[in-house]
Amino acid sequence: MNAAILAVVVLLPVLAGALIPFIPFKNRLWMMVYIEAAVLLVTILMFVTLFNQPQEEFVLFRFAGNLSLSFKLDGLGSVFAGLVAFLWPLATLYSFEYMKHEGHEKYFFMFYTMTYGITLGIALAEDIVTMYCFYEALSIVTLPLVIHTLTREAILAGRTYVYYMLGGAAFGFIGLAFVLIYGTTSNFVPGGVLDFAKIGDHRNMILFTYVMCFFGFSIKTAIWPFCSWLPKAGVAPTPVTALLHAVAVVKAGAFAAMRVTYYSFGADFLRGTWAQGVVMAAVIITIVYGCSRAVKETHMKRRLAWSTVSNLSYVLFGVVLMSPLGLAGAMSHMVFHAFIKISAFFCVGAVIYKTGREYVHQLNGFGYRMPKVFVVFTISGLALMGVPGLAGFVSKWNLVKAALDAGTGAAYLGIAALLVSALLTAIYMMTIVVRAFFPGKDFDFSTISDVEDPNWMMILPLTVFTIAIIYFGVCSGWFTDMLEQISSVM
């Protein structure tokens, strides 16, 4: 398999997206067909590539000395790329329906489709420079999506968003510069690339850099104390919140943190140092903090966003355990949380789309009017809580397994944090479910007589995600094996 295909899957959506405003579509349907076809094509190419892993790298462009844009497919990258490629066509389908009521569709889909390519670029980046480039690009290209509604609130949120994103990248950049100087290569190599002969006794310097770099990249993952952008960005249209701010963008941050930790700085070097302690502390705080805020929040999308904050730090918890098992756990939560959260968001999006209601207390009795949506929501809620038999439990299990294996006090504390967070998750998800299905004795159903399930374009993605959640809940063995194999090369 020619490695050039890696560049194709990255550039194709960017191009296809950039062309959207310039193509004179006959009507909306043609535009939908065009976009969906492009996205599907990329997804198919991506999966074909995943199943015939090209071994060699592909250098797209060299811009200075050892700086180049180059792509290579490896285990970690495949997981992220596969996840994104799987979700994107479905999310696009959903957005066709959803975006009807938001307007400016052409521009929306232009950026939405471009984001696809850029996210794949992060997944397939061979070295830290390429990843950084796409990482920055992701911040910029998603900005129009955040401020899409162009309300005052959206614009303020967009500002916060872009400050955090670029600010994060600025700190991540320090790590990048370090790796270029102190690394044997800028490529991602399992186990890290630091040149210890060069470093000598400057270990603390490197650790300090790592901490800055980790926080920099993790800002996209909304790590405490840099987490407030994510709930604010909830003003974006739901397909954005769901796919980008629960999966693509935020997971790109987690992915970058994985790359930096395991493939650039090297987990062995970091394990047991004060740097690990610092990042672990921040992660544990985020896990609990995000959930507590979610419990307090009454706006549905923001509530889910806070929940994302917490769950992303589950992923980071796996990352900062600095062990192969930790990485496997992090990857599994990255994937499973993606399915769970995107389906929860899509449910909320369906509610907003059909009824315009955005607050939890407005949901009384919806379970009867939108049974399909709320059954899916309930399942995703249960999965998020970590009920066995659903995907959420598996990833939690893998994370805990890694933490137990690490056996440090901080890891145990992390386990406790996971469980506290699971409890809080139960509160903020189940209160919605209870409201929706048990509106109370004197509830007047005529007040919600206009509420109904959305059409197939929304239901289909929801169904697929639900099936995925259940499927991974009941047979995750092969998947866990695969992840452990990927991470065992460390």
Binding site: V387, P388, G389, D405, A422, M430, F438, G440, C475, S476
Partner: protein
């Protein structure tokens, strides 16, 4: 043969799920209640499902062995069912109590409305409970434990008032809190055990356990507190007095009688089938556990004694009585273990009876407070007699069943080498028994002897649909006191295995 295990699990769950789906369609059409005809069909369906499930379960219990592994929840740990002694005991009593209460509910539920919803969840929880009883490893048990929590919450909030919804959320919160403490323990047990499959006597890997002793003890303690939440053990007991009064009486009956026992089962499994009694014996965990249970026993009785609302009083009584069982388990001695098991069986039926009687009072005369019940015996002598017998059993007056279990418990405490608890335990049990008498018998006395200026009321006993299940439950609650040997024999065989 093995896959038959799934039958009693799936049957009620599927029927319940179908009811729920049809409910969604009903609600879409219009809000008017079901017709008489529909109700009847519903009752027949539920009745046969209950009976069939019971029959299948009892058949499995009778067969006495078998195991079944389904898909793997996480790598290496499948959903695994296994029929063993404890599982058989619990499954049998679960399904008897559940069916009896279910039959009672046919007559009770029109009072509350929304029968379809109630019975749908009632059946689903039934299936889950059977699965819980037959769970063969800790993860499977945890799975059904969580499911039980989630699916039983609608039973609590059935009447839909704000109070009920808040109560059900409180119930969910406490249960989840407990479940996650349990999960915490599960993780550590997974790390330190050879297998999580239930094995009498425990599966702890001695080397690892010696290495990680402290954290493992903490973990087990977390499990005790956590699973103890369902069993109403201090400090996670507060949901009981909130949830019971607002739930429909059949729901309170099974919550107290059956679901609390699921908590007992979980504790039993963790202590005797995974961690092993030997690991805990003499450790601080045992001491703390005993302290907590005795505290709960005493506190529950005291609170019940002071409580004027009838169902709340019964709820506090449950708090106290289930901790008798946990105290028995905490002693880690065979006799106490037998006592605990016996008390599990007896208390389940007794408490079901008591709550159902409370339900009769609510339906017939809409009386919820104890002081309103004066002279009720004139109106409903049959019901009150049942109540009286059950009360006596709960207090532990020979020759009723409660006496036997308490005897074993006290004896176990004296036998077990637990220092001060050896005599403190029985004393507290005794005091608590006195308090039990104090809070239950006045109902009987005032009920039958309201005083001479009490207006005579016509005899108007509970309808047959309610009375018969109550009678049946009273009978199986009280009678084992007279012929306890088969049961004791069965339980001592379990005890022999785990010690």
């Amino acid at each position: 043969m093995n896959s038959w295990i799934l039958l009693p699990v799936c049957l009620p769950v599927i029927v319940g799920a179908c009811l729920l789906i049809s409910l969604a369609f009903d609600r879409r059409k219009d809000a008017s209640g079901p017709s008489e005809e529909e109700l009847k069909r519903l009752h027949i369906l539920v009745f046969f499902t209950l009976i069939a499930t019971t029959v299948f379960t009892l058949a499995l219990v009778w067969a006495g062995k078998g195991s079944l592994a389904l898909f793997e929840i996480v790598k290496g740990i499948p959903v695994y069912f296994q029929i063993d002694g404890a599982g058989r005991l619990f499954a049998a009593i679960f399904c008897i109590a559940w069916t009896a209460v279910g039959i009672y509910a046919f007559t009770y539920m029109p009072h509350e409305g929304k029968e379809k919803q109630f019975f749908a969840f009632y059946l689903i929880v039934f299936g889950v409970l059977i699965a819980l009883a037959f769970s063969g490893n800790l993860v499977t048990m945890y799975l059904f434990y969580e499911l039980m929590t989630v699916t039983s919450a609608p039973l609590v909030l059935h009447n839909g008032s704000r109070e009920a919804i808040m109560a059900s959320l409180k119930y969910l919160f406490y249960s989840m809190c407990g479940a996650y403490l349990g999960l915490f323990a599960l993780f550590f047990l997974y790390q330190n055990c050879d297998t999580l499959t239930f094995t009498a006597g425990g599966t702890l890997n001695p080397e690892l356990a010696a290495q990680n002793g402290t954290i493992l003890l903490i973990a087990v303690f977390a499990a005790l507190i956590g699973f103890g939440a369902k069993a109403g053990m201090f400090p996670l007991h507060a949901w009981l007095p909130t949830a019971h009064p607002v739930a429909p009486s059949p729901a309170s009956a099974v919550l107290s009688g059956v679901i609390a026992k699921a908590g007992v089962l979980a504790v039993l499994r963790v202590v005797y089938y995974v961690a092993g009694a030997d690991f805990l014996r003499g450790s601080w965990v045992q001491t703390a556990w005993m302290t907590l249970t005795l505290l709960t026993v005493f506190m529950g009785s005291l609170l019940a004694f002071r409580e004027p609302v009838f169902k709340k009083r019964l709820a506090y009584s449950t708090v106290s009585q289930v901790s008798y069982i946990l105290f028995g388990l905490s002693l880690l001695s065979p006799t106490a273990f037998e006592g605990a098991m016996l008390h599990t069986v007896f208390h389940m039926f007794i408490k079901c009876t008591l709550f159902l009687v409370a339900g009769v009072f609510i339906v017939k005369c809409n009386k919820t407070r104890v002081d309103e019940l004066d002279g009720i015996g004139k109106q409903m002598p049959g019901t009150l007699w049942c109540f009286t017998f059950a009360s006596l059993a709960l207090i532990g007056i020979p020759p009723t069943s409660g006496f036997i279990s308490k005897w074993y418990l006290a004896q176990g405490a004296l036998e077990a080498n637990v220092g001060v608890f050896g005599w403190l335990g029985p004393v507290i049990l005794l005091v608590s028994a006195l308090l039990t008498a104090g809070y239950l018998l006045p109902v009987t006395m005032k009920g039958f002897f309201p005083g001479k200026d009490y207006p005579s009321v016509p005899k108007d006993d509970a309808p047959k649909g309610m009375l018969y299940p109550v009678l049946f439950l009273t009978a199986i609650a009280v009678l084992p006191g007279v012929i306890p040997n088969p049961l004791i024999g069965f339980i001592s065989r379990i005890a022999d295995l785990v010690f």
